[in-house]
Structure formats: structure tokens, C-alpha cells
Amino acid sequence: MNWNSPAEFFAMGGYALYVWGSFGVCALAMVLEPWLVRQRRNTIVQSLRRQARAEKLDKEHA
């Protein structure tokens, strides 16, 4: 084990800004990207659903 206390862990031997700046941005990116992809999927699925409903209504009223 390298650390004697949580404070020592977060200080990263004086390199806190650089280590956490690297890992933090990577973590943020790996949360944001899947979220954006999910949004993209929801958009297209919703538009396809609307289309299907419209076609169904068209058939019922024909």
C-alpha cells in the first residue's frame, strides 16, 4: 500500500493537479460520450415511433 491516509492519496505527492486533471477529464469524457450516444439513439427511436403511429392512424382512417 502506497498511502498512509486519504489526504496523502488525494495529494498525489504534490502532483494532484496533474494526476487528477488527467484521470478526471478521462472519467468525464467516458460519462459524457455514452450519454450523448444515448440521446442520439432516443431521438431517432422517438421519431420512428411517431412515424409508426402516424402511419397506423392513416390506415385506420383510410
Binding site: Y18, V19, S22, E33, R41, R53
Partner: protein, 249 residues
């Protein structure tokens, strides 16, 4: 004999690839989480402090895997693009398009974490060094590929134009990889070499490999999810899309 061979062309159509990809995605997320947890544990709690760089060297555990993935994803993307050009298969273009943003993200993370490592160790966020510059060009190649595809309305023509750009850009990948050998650079040499015995502690090496596997599984999961969205967007009027359970009215 024929029934013993898997008919790979069957999966080359979006209609049959879409459900298969949907079943695989959760497993890749699970693998990414497992490799990530193990990799982070090794990176922060098992790998020893570096004699020269202290705790600052721990950036390696995310910098090297992101850099590997940025190059590897480019090769896979160019491979799909090449298959698309040669066989004129619809799926290939969709896969290349799905990989590009994730590859661009990995190239960005490689540059970002590199800057955050360069500042404390070299005293500069950025230098115009061969390794850094060629990685920056890779990032621009991804952006160029995405911009070119977005600028062409007809998706099949966009695929072809993008494929040529992707294939020409492949020349940059060996330049990045060998840049530290070909030129005298500030950047250190390859971290892992097949021909040399590893020069770092085994725990460091394992931490890096596990983090690389995590990013690999993550990239597959995200790219497959994006590919499925692209399939729906492009094939919105196809019968197979209309019969999907998630789409039916």
C-alpha cells in the same frame, strides 16, 4: 461442409447485425467496468511510486492506453472503410462512421493527459515534438473524417469520400508509432516493446494493460451503440426497422 461454416456475410446486413450488437453491448460494458476497476486498483494502490517522477508518473495508466486506442481505432476504422470501398457493403460505412467520434475522443484524451504529464515533467504543456505533432495530426484526421462525412448529404457518397480520407490518413499511424525512434524527441521511447524485456515493474505493466483493456471494451460498447443509432437513422424506411419492438406504435 457448408453448414459447419459460419456465414459471415449474413451479419454484413444491418437487419441481422442490429439485434446481435444489441445483445453484445451490455457484456462489453460489464467487461469495461471489471477491467477498469482492476486497472484502477493496480494503478493507484499496487503499483509502486516511481523513483524519478514520484506519483506524477501515474498519468501513464491512462495516457498510454488512450494513445494506443487512438491509433488502434483509426486502423479499425480505416479497415472498415476499405472493406466498404471494396465490397460496397452498407454496414462497413456505418461502422467506420460509428468509430470516428470515439477515436477522436481517445486522441483528445491522449493529448490532454500528455499535456498534464508534460507540464510537471518537461515544464511545458506542449512542445512541437514529432510524437506530439503526429498525434495532433491524428486528432485532426478524425475531425476531418467526421466533418467530410457530415458535409455530404448522400450517406453512401459520404462513406466513399470518408473512406478515401481514412485510407490516406493511415500513413500517419506508423509515423506516430515510430516517431520516438526516427527522430530525437523529448517524448520518451515506447513504454512496452515486443522485442525487449519490460523495463518497468510488472505491476505497472499489468495496470497499463488492464486499463487498455478497459478502454478497448468501452470503445466497442460505445461504438456499437452509436452504430445501432446510425443504422436506425439511415434505414428509417426499411421494413426491418418498422418491425422492431422498440419502434412499433
Amino acid at each position: 461442409m457448408s453448414n459447419r461454416l459460419i456465414n459471415w456475410f449474413k451479419y454484413a446486413s444491418p437487419a441481422s447485425f442490429y439485434p446481435v450488437a444489441g445483445k453484445m453491448i451490455p457484456w462489453f460494458w460489464l467487461l469495461a467496468a471489471m477491467f477498469g476497476a482492476a486497472g484502477l486498483w493496480l494503478s493507484f494502490f499496487v503499483a509502486p511510486t516511481d523513483a524519478v517522477q514520484g506519483e506524477g508518473y501515474r498519468i501513464i495508466f491512462v495516457h498510454v492506453p488512450a494513445s494506443w486506442m487512438s491509433m488502434f481505432i483509426y486502423l479499425v476504422m480505416a479497415g472498415w472503410a476499405g472493406i466498404g470501398l471494396a465490397l460496397n457493403a452498407r454496414l462497413s460505412g456505418m461502422m467506420a462512421q460509428a468509430l470516428a467520434p470515439t477515436g477522436a475522443l481517445m486522441a483528445f484524451l491522449s493529448l490532454w493527459t500528455g499535456a498534464f504529464w508534460g507540464k510537471p515533467m518537461w515544464g511545458a504543456w506542449w512542445v512541437w515534438d514529432a510524437r506530439l505533432t503526429s498525434e495532433l495530426i491524428l486528432f485532426f484526421l478524425y475531425l476531418g473524417f467526421m466533418a467530410l462525412q457530415a458535409a455530404i448529404d448522400d450517406p453512401r457518397r459520404a462513406d466513399k469520400a470518408g473512406a478515401i480520407l481514412a485510407l490516406v490518413g493511415v500513413v500517419n499511424v506508423p509515423i506516430i508509432y515510430f516517431s520516438v525512434k526516427w527522430w530525437n524527441t523529448l517524448h520518451q521511447g515506447a513504454s512496452v516493446s515486443i522485442t525487449k524485456a519490460p523495463s518497468m515493474a510488472m505491476t505497472m505493466l499489468w495496470g497499463m494493460l488492464l486499463m487498455a483493456l478497459c478502454l478497448w471494451m468501452y470503445s466497442i460498447a460505445v461504438a456499437l451503440t452509436r452504430a445501432r443509432a446510425i443504422m436506425l437513422e439511415r434505414e428509417a424506411h426499411a421494413d426491418w426497422v418498422k418491425t422492431l419492438a422498440e419502434v412499433r406504435a
